[in-house]
Amino acid sequence: MGREKKLRVLVAKPGLDGHDRGARIIARGFRDAGFEVIYTGVHQTPEQIVSAAIQEDVGLIGLSCLSGAHLYLFSEVLRQLKASGAGNIIVIGGGIIPDEDIPKLKKAGIKQVFLPGTPISEIIDWTRKNVPPARRPISSGKKAG
């Protein structure tokens, strides 16, 4: 039997967009809901985000973009995750995203897009339903629990 680990979440701001009010609130929301949260701060390249996600062993990445560059930036993160063998990390997104871009993002691999006005609880509930918490294997020679 494995001990359940808390889900680790990376909240990230790709690109040059500095509008971080939403990202910071979501990060806090995850933290208050009992998840382990890493917030990257602004101005992250897709490389930096993928590297942080792998290093921090996260199960979920939340991307926020309000500058209109989401189609390129989000798919670039997805592409690099896959290329690094971390394609199983679930990625969600939010920000200023026109309705017509949502299907494009989902096709690229973004699991869900949360638009302005979404209650924090809705994002948390979705996460609990759709993102498996990681399981830590028992290490040999040690008692469980």
């Binding site: 040059l16 009010r21 500058s67």
Partner: protein
């Protein structure tokens, strides 16, 4: 302000009123507390008792007279209506020039420039960091060549222009000055504003490049240069807007903005040894106008009164113009909703009215579709008409500071001032704004306020129409503005052409001179102007700043 009999009568009247309310509406007493959007308690009624400690001459007075609670200019809007200054920029310089001509034709009276993210951050359109960002949030400007197109057929001696630009402010200002020169307009005649306020970047807007100390040095360089060479230019727009948009309360917006102002004034005096009266009259400010109507009006009045006291008493400024707080206002972007966007027209209207009743010098009104994209021409025109209707049809411009003397508004003005001083004193105790930023104080105050507000909305403690009440089952489709994907390629092509045709040696020489200036304490502006004239790119200049001063990394407070 009131004699003892008036106050006694007011107290007795209050008791009678309270008894009546308890008798006729017993559940009113049990009603939950009402507050402004920033959580300042609001009483059901205000009387002379609530402003008993105010002194008319000391605290309210007259427009044009210390402490300017009622306005800086004696004639208010009767002398000059506020400037209709619509923030705009999109795609290429041609696209933006076209939008500017359209807005001027529709009656805006001042220009305001929105740049794209690469330009805001000091990157050229061909930088890998600029990929997919070019022209999306504003106009792409890489060199003077773009700027000349941007200002084509705009008479720079007749219209003033604001530019929302921070780390690369020196560069864009240099482009403006050279573009004006080429129109035959001398630096003594050209007028406008550069935002150029880095402290609020570290606190809120987050378009930063170099660390705080060298960022302030660059700002003091521009203020000094403007003082000596460009007398009609506001070389800084000390901003609360972005602080508010990041989630601050009205009190925090006011306090942190004024604390930033204090830091800038101190730096110019210390670093440049300028007399405060030499540069203070050209400091300007920029505030948000949010949804709590009276709270915003009170905030603007408190701002004027506080800055007057800071400049006269703390900095010993002697010129009354140094005591003036002149400000631009933008209606609150963060109050706009994605849901039922046409409702945003009403929000912008009440926010604009609050700014006008608060005595703003200049105003931008948001378009209803800005939760989705940059505004369409249609939406931007409605936003402009909002200002024109307020100015022409409502009569609010006919008298100066019409709400002066209101028991509520005066009580709220004093309350906001009192709370803001607490923050300023706290920041002083920390050693000033730079020290406060270093330890994350304003950033965390804002993060806390933003989170509290979000939870209040999620719980419907605070109602947002269309979002948590009066929700539409189905949203109507909306036609939004799309930036053509070709913009990026076109811009890169033009940039390459400029690089091909310019004098490479002149650019190299100018950049070398700038490097030396940065490494000394020589004012950088003359070198920036020389570089810009030679068609150096914005990034080439900013790369020098990054090389000498280093790069700032977001500490990621949340």
């Amino acid at each position: 302000m009131f004699d003892e009999k008036t106050l006694t009568d007011a107290r007795q009247g209050m008791k009678k009123w309270e008894a009546e309310v308890t008798k006729s509406s017993p559940d009113l007493a049990a009603k939950k507390r009402l507050s402004t959007i920033s959580d300042l308690l609001v009483n059901p009624i205000y009387t002379p008792e609530d402003i008993r400690n105010l002194d008319f001459d000391r605290d309210i007075g007259y427009p044009g007279f210390f402490p300017f609670t009622r306005g800086c200019q004696a004639t208010g809007y009767r002398g000059r209506v506020w400037t209709f200054r619509m923030f705009s920029g999109l795609g290429t310089a041609e696209d933006t020039n076209r939008r500017w001509h359209q807005l001027l034709k529709e009656g805006e009276t001042g220009l305001s420039t929105a740049f794209d993210f690469p330009t805001l951050m000091g990157y050229d359109s061909d930088s890998p960091k600029a990929r997919a960002e070019v022209g999306k949030c504003g106009v792409a400007i890489d060199t003077l060549a773009d700027f000349e197109i941007l200002t084509r057929n705009i008479p720079l001696d007749k219209v003033t222009t604001s530019m929302t630009i921070n780390p690369p402010a020196s560069v864009l200002w240099a482009m403006y000055l050279v573009a004006a020169e080429k129109q035959g307009v001398g630096w003594d005649r050209v007028g406008g504003t550069i935002q150029n306020d880095m402290l609020k970047e570290f606190i809120a807007q987050k378009t930063f490049m170099c660390p705080p100390e060298p960022s302030i040095r660059l700002i003091s360089d521009t203020i000094e240069f403007g003082t000596h060479h460009v007398p009609r230019w506001n070389t800084i727009s000390i901003s609360g807007y972005h602080i508010r948009e990041a989630g601050a309360t009205a009190v925090q917006e006011l306090a942190f903005t004024l604390a930033d102002g204090i830091a800038y004034v101190q730096d110019v005096i210390q670093r440049k040894k300028l007399d405060v009266d030499a540069f203070a009259p050209r400091l300007s400010f920029f505030f948000d106008s949010h949804m709590d109507f009276f709270e915003e009006i009170a905030k603007f009045r408190a701002a004027r009164r506080m800055w007057a006291r800071i400049m006269r008493d703390r900095f010993q400024a002697k010129n009354p113009r140094s005591w003036w707080l002149r400000f631009h206002t933008q209606t609150a972007g963060c109050s706009l909703t994605h849901q039922q966007p046409y409702n945003n027209i009403i929000r912008t209207t009440t926010e604009a009215l609050a700014a006008v009743l608060g005595g703003t010098q200049s105003l931008h009104t948001n378009s209803f579709d800005e939760e989705f994209a940059l505004p369409t021409e249609f939406a931007a025109t409605i936003a402009l008409r909002t200002q024109q209707i307020l100015a022409e049809e409502t009569g609010v411009v006919n008298t100066i500071d019409p709400l002066a003397g209101s028991y509520y508004v005066e009580a709220l003005t004093s309350r906001i001032e009192e709370e803001a001083w607490k923050y300023i004193n706290q920041i002083d105790d920390m050693g000033g704004m730079l020290a406060a930023i270093d330890r994350g104080f304003p950033q965390l105050e804002i993060a806390n306020a933003a989170y509290i507000f979000k939870k209040q909305v999620d719980n419907t403690d605070k109602v947002v129409v269309g979002v948590n009440r009066y929700v539409a089952e189905e949203e109507l489709p909306l036609e939004i503005l799309k930036i053509d994907e070709r913009v990026e390629a076109e811009q890169v092509k033009r940039l390459n052409e400029v690089k091909r045709s310019r004098d490479r040696r002149m650019v190299a020489q100018a950049l070398k001179g700038l490097l030396a200036a940065c490494q000394s304490d020589k004012n950088v502006m003359p070198c920036v102007i020389e570089a810009v004239r030679a068609y150096a790119t914005e990034q080439e200049i900013c790369d020098i700043y990054r090389e000498v001063f280093g790069e700032y990394r977001d500490p990621g407070f949340f």
